[in-house]
């Protein structure tokens, strides 16, 4: 999977990278609530081999998607529709939905609904991923 065309400008993940794919929509209140958590987690994971990317569930045009992502304060890369197709993921039935993909792009976890930082770190720990956890303090509650 190539993420070179994503914006905001980010370095494309290197080979061997695990990917967290977060489906969001601007009208989805729990999506908006968990974005700051993913922003913070993205910073915390910067030195690890786990990267976070977003998908606009509504499939708006690229320009519109980037406007919405900016409005929502999404700091991690947002995939283009072409990049989403390459992932071959089944479109979620619920928003937000978050996938964790192995370096081979296999789905190793599908997380439905709003996630907390603790939820995400727990999932990463279950996968035995080398992630620093002591700097993440974001606490999310139910929507």
């Amino acid at each position: 999977m190539s993420l070179g065309a994503t914006e905001p400008e980010k370095t494309a993940p290197a080979e061997g990278t695990w990917t967290i794919v977060n489906y969001w929509s601007e009208w989805c209140a729990p999506c908006r609530k968990e974005i700051p958590m993913f922003n913070k987690l993205n910073q915390q994971l910067a030195a690890s081999n786990v990267t976070i990317v977003g998908v606009n569930f509504d499939e708006d045009s690229r320009d519109e998607t980037l406007k919405i992502a900016k409005k929502m304060g999404v700091d991690f890369p947002t995939l283009t529709m072409e990049e989403v197709k390459l992932l071959n993921l089944k479109a979620p039935t619920v928003l937000p939905t978050t996938y964790i993909l192995s370096p081979e792009n296999e789905v190793v976890a599908k997380l439905l609904g709003e996630q907390s930082a603790e939820d995400m770190l727990k999932q990463l720990a279950l996968l035995n991923l080398p992630v620093k956890t002591n700097q993440v303090s974001t606490k999310q509650t139910g929507n």
């Binding site: 209140a29 569930f57 499939e59 089944k90 039935t93």
Partner: protein, 424 residues
């Protein structure tokens, strides 16, 4: 899922009628005839609905887009001819959403149209605005906000139901209590830093737009699913996706009986626990005391479409019938034919090539037929198909997004006596 569709033959008919030309493509799937009717909506059209009046005339409403400007339009199909499209309202500050979109209701010579307008720039908040058609002056009235709160919050997912005396029942999701410091449905004052729940409210409006009555139907509902209403022989019925404290989001019904709304009750306890937005509301249809409710659920992440039937005006329901299992994205509709046969619309999930399906059931809930109406697209941009019946014919509208957004309309004519094909 057992497929009962036959390949059938295809015949193309070009019919040019007085007024707008009507091009008809006819497909025969067994004894079921599907006519693709040229819609009066032009390119860059979407978010369409069909609704019938008491005289058996079909109305199509849709949204057209020109740059940032959106317009709500409608046209009437009368004896095979579409009337020239008319613009109801326009705006460059509307909230446009593939799941929550404008609504047209017809009540005799009166009409009511609804759309969503952003309440403040840069926010996710929007209001439900309505315009009421004055048949004497033959013009649409000034837009009014149907909910009386002045709170910038989400309001939408509207359904409308014509009533006696030219009145209209309007039901909507109301997010006023999701803001801190809200006045809760029970009259208590919320804390400034504590958000309340999404509520479902309903009001009866006069033909001039005056609010005659207003109620809170349920103080905690799912934030992002459509509502649906129908008229039984005892009065209005409203269905919606409920939300419990532990995030069970099943389909509930409330009925207006003897001047009051009944306590909300589950159609069926699916026990779907999800702290998120399914964006998949139920659909209800009624004919006399017969009621049908179709809905989507996804317990254990297994998507399903179900149907439950009532013969007592929605007081009780049958055990659900499985309409679609696993390969569906939901987006359901329901209608009851003059014969009492129930039709459920739903979308299959084939990633990019979803099928728009109609499933036919006997009044008792036995499967009669599955019919593929169109090869649509599971993309959100294809929106929610809407169905309406006139007599024993079903009209379907959806948005084709293959090249550019284009509203489509089909008429599905069933054999007079569909054969019972057994259940799945």
């Amino acid at each position: 899922m057992k497929s009962l569709m036959s390949a059938g033959s295809m015949k193309v008919i070009f019919a040019f009628c007085i007024g707008l030309s009507v091009q008809t493509t006819t497909l025969f799937a067994g004894q079921t005839e599907i006519e693709l009717i040229t819609s009066p909506a032009t390119a860059n059209s979407s978010l369409s609905r069909v609704v019938a009046d008491r005289k058996g005339r079909l109305y199509l409403s849709w949204v057209s887009q020109d740059g940032q400007m959106l317009s709500l339009n409608y046209s009437r199909l009368d004896k095979g001819n579409w009337s020239p499209p008319e613009v109801i309202s326009t705006g460059d500050d509307w909230f446009k959403n593939w799941a929550d979109f404008p609504f047209l209701s017809v009540n005799g010579d009166n009409m009511t149209a609804l759309w969503l307008r952003k309440s403040a720039k840069g926010t996710y908040d929007y209001n439900v605005e309505a315009s009421f058609y004055n048949p004497k002056e033959q013009r649409w009235g000034k837009a009014i906000k149907i909910h009386k709160d002045e709170i910038s919050a989400e309001h939408g997912f509207v359904s409308m139901l014509p009533m006696n005396d030219d009145r209209t029942l309007i039901t909507w999701l109301d997010g006023r209590e999701t803001r801190g410091g809200y006045q809760a449905a029970d009259g208590s004052q919320g804390k400034q830093d504590v958000a309340g729940a999404m509520t479902i409210r309903a009001g009866v409006f006069s033909q001039h737009g005056d609010t005659i009555s207003e109620w809170v139907l349920d103080g905690s509902v799912c934030d992002c699913c459509q509502t649906s209403s129908a008229m039984s022989s005892l009065g209005p019925l409203v269905v919606y996706r409920n939300r419990t404290e532990d995030e069970i989001r099943d389909i509930y019904i409330t009925r207006f009986i003897d001047g009051a709304w009944t306590a909300p009750a589950a159609i069926h306890n699916d026990d779907w626990k999800i702290a998120g937005c399914p964006v998949n509301g139920p659909s209800i249809a009624a004919r006399g005391s017969q009621v049908a409710v179709a809905w989507f659920t996804a317990v254990d992440d297994i998507p399903q479409v179900k149907l439950a039937i009532s013969t007592d005006n929605g007081a009780s329901f049958s055990a659900p019938v499985m309409v679609a299992d696993q390969n569906t994205v939901g987006r359901v509709g329901a209608t009851i034919l003059e014969s009492g046969i129930i039709v459920v619309s739903w979308m299959g999930d084939a990633t990019n090539k979803a099928k728009l399906m109609l499933s036919l059931y006997s009044p008792e809930g036995a499967l009669l037929e599955h019919t593929k109406v169109a090869q649509s697209n599971a993309s959100r941009r294809s929106g929610f198909p809407i169905i309406e019946s006139i007599g024993n014919d079903v009209y379907v509208t959806w948005t084709d997004i293959e090249e550019q957004n284009q509203v489509k309309v089909a008429k599905v004519r069933y054999a007079a006596e569909p054969k019972h094909s057994g259940s799945e």
